[in-house]
């Protein structure tokens, strides 16, 4: 039987397992269509807030010697209402809408904006490491996570994913709180708080000083987190962090991820990366005789 790239992340069904990670390229429906045509199984929007945010001044990105990026774009986004209007006409692309906020009502209000939109899932950003009062600061507060996830689950029947990262508390507590509050899946991990200093001018390079490290340097950490979460809890996991090749993708499936997200690799290999990864996964499946992606999920845990 010809292998199929379709995958299910709980109730979420995708034709292809590699999706665009949040924060990357996610502001134009035309670009979403192009990414979908280029092999992405879904696109995750930039994290949207209630109001438009301009983000930080440049420099907002830094290329790390040896691989990886540190970014502090600052969650620039057109705001949930503008974004919802833009994707109203979308019928083709599976769009996962990423949301960022400080209190449960922020999320509730934003979800209402998407009533007339075709949304595959919501992804709650509980882990951005470089903006105050949102992201990791929320993810590190279990009481707040509980309130937000409960509110979101009461506001919509659309599957909801929590994106977690490495903050100042044990991220597994955030995962557990989200699961106990009814979350449908977990994306792990977000970028890792980091910085860069220029030795010539002796200044921090990013305008925000701190940013989030992404790309190949964090891949082994992300892989460990996916393995830990899927070993400890019965919850679908989406792997994210430094995935740039089909081998990386397979590694994440074997660790317990049902799907993966691609971000930094686009900066290195441009959007052909989706088709390259899809082709590699298919070849691997043929060679190993798998007919679905889900057959591979978590296989490394039997050892």
């Amino acid at each position: 039987m010809e292998p199929s790239l379709t995958t299910s992340i709980g109730k979420i069904q995708l034709d292809r397992p590699a999706m665009l990670a949040s924060g990357i390229l996610g502001i134009s429906l035309d670009v979403f269509n192009r990414l979908y045509r280029s092999g992405a199984g879904a696109v995750v929007s930039k994290s949207l807030s209630n109001e438009p945010w301009e983000g930080y001044p440049n420099p907002t990105i830094f290329s790390v010697n040896g691989g990886g990026w540190i970014n502090a774009v600052g969650l620039s986004n057109p705001g949930a209402p503008n974004f919802a209007k833009m994707i109203e006409s979308n019928h083709d692309v599976p769009i996962i809408v990423s949301l960022v906020g400080s209190v449960p009502d922020d999320f509730k209000m934003m979800i209402e904006e998407f009533t007339n939109c075709n949304v595959t899932a919501f992804e709650l950003n509980l882990s951005c490491p470089h903006v105050a009062k949102v992201g990791l600061e929320v993810g590190d507060d279990p009481e707040l996570v509980k309130k937000i996830v409960t509110t979101v689950k009461n506001s919509t029947n659309i599957p909801t994913i929590a994106k977690v990262g490495l903050g100042t508390t044990n991220y597994l507590n955030t995962v557990k709180t989200a699961i106990d509050s009814g979350i449908d899946a977990i994306t792990a991990i977000n970028t890792v708080r980091a910085m860069a200093i220029d030795v010539e001018t002796q200044r921090p390079i990013l305008s925000n000083k701190f940013g989030g490290l992404s790309g190949t340097p964090i891949k082994p950490i992300a892989l460990r987190c996916v393995y830990e979460i899927s070993s400890k809890y019965d919850i679908p996991v989406i792997g994210c962090g430094g995935i740039s090749t089909w081998e990386d993708a397979i590694e994440f499936f074997l660790a317990g991820a049902s799907a993966i997200q691609i971000g930094s690799a686009i900066g290195d290999n441009w959007i052909n990366v989706f088709n390259d990864i899809n082709k590699g996964i298919l070849q691997y499946m043929k060679q190993k005789n798998y007919s679905t992606v889900n057959e591979m999920v978590g296989l490394a845990k039997k050892f």
Binding site: G23, L25, S28, D30, T60, P78, D198, T201, I266, W270
Partner: protein, 275 residues
């Protein structure tokens, strides 16, 4: 080229010292620095320029007449460009790149249309043309005191059949009226093998229309808000294209199908705004 330039990662910021500042007009300056990588970039390529403590801007790489050197030509406009404009000799800036594609170099009878600092890639393009090319450079400006690079263009073309035409909106110098009206006149009057343009978007839009509707090969270099320059942040999208990765140079044929070109651009939050 120095050995470390050969293995330089274009995404890493390199610190360079400004060696010379040239006043082009009261609001436009050219900052010259030594860097063998930037001195050799293709016409139309850009760098991300870090003005420490202020911002980082995408800038088309200007030529220098001295070998091993390159430059940036900046008009003071907002806080960031004014920050770059105010850099003096001896001060340091950071550069990464080069990024973006380059103009396809055609030969024969060529028309280059530039407005403001959009002339920068046009000047670099001139250095790539053959002595047998018949070159017309059209420089558009609001008024006489904003005209620059006229003598540079004449100098770069001294071995070619050439014509440098100035057009000012207020008629204070050269032709009187909009540069796009001059483009229309030129392409009506004689045959061109290729048209290249960089400058204000409305100017490029009309120039592309004038050439494309007559079947003339035309390319424009687009400017958009940029944050990363490497195709990650998405700030510079124009329809389904990313100015930083797919461009900044696009063919007229492609642009004529893009519904944002000539009409709208995105602000820092990513919201579409009309020109």
């Amino acid at each position: 080229m120095r050995w470390w330039d050969l293995q330089r990662n274009s995404n890493h910021t390199t610190i360079v010292t400004i060696e010379k500042v040239i006043d082009e007009t009261p609001t436009v300056r050219t900052l010259v620095f030594s860097d063998s990588v930037m001195s050799n970039v293709l016409p139309g390529q850009f760098a991300m320029v870090w003005i420490p403590g202020i911002n980082e801007l995408p800038m088309s790489v200007m030529i220098s007449q001295e070998s091993g050197k390159a430059a940036f030509t900046v008009r003071k406009h907002g806080v960031s460009s004014t920050g770059l404009f105010n850099i003096v000799s001896g001060e340091k800036i950071g550069i990464r790149g080069p990024y973006g594609n380059a103009f396809d170099i055609k030969s024969g009878k060529l028309l280059l249309v530039g407005g403001g600092t959009g002339l920068v890639p046009m000047m670099r393009l001139l250095t790539f043309l053959k002595p047998t090319d018949d070159v017309t450079v059209l420089i558009g400006a609001k008024s006489k005191n904003e005209v620059f690079f006229e003598s540079l263009a004449n100098d770069l073309l001294k071995n070619n059949i050439h014509n440098v035409i100035i057009s000012t909106d207020d008629g204070s110098y050269g032709e009187n009226g909009f540069v796009t009206d001059v483009v229309e006149k030129l392409v009506n009057k004689s045959h061109f093998d290729a048209v290249y343009t960089c400058g204000p978007e409305k100017m490029m839009y009309k120039t592309v229309q004038s050439a494309h509707s007559r079947g003339i090969f035309v390319q424009a270099s687009l400017e958009r808000m940029m944050k990363c320059g490497v195709g990650i942040c998405g700030s510079c999208c124009v329809g389904e294209d990313l100015a930083c990765k797919d461009g900044t140079i696009f063919d007229g044929d492609h642009l004529s199908k893009n519904k944002e070109f000539g009409y709208s651009h995105r602000n820092k939050a990513g919201i579409l705004e009309d020109y």
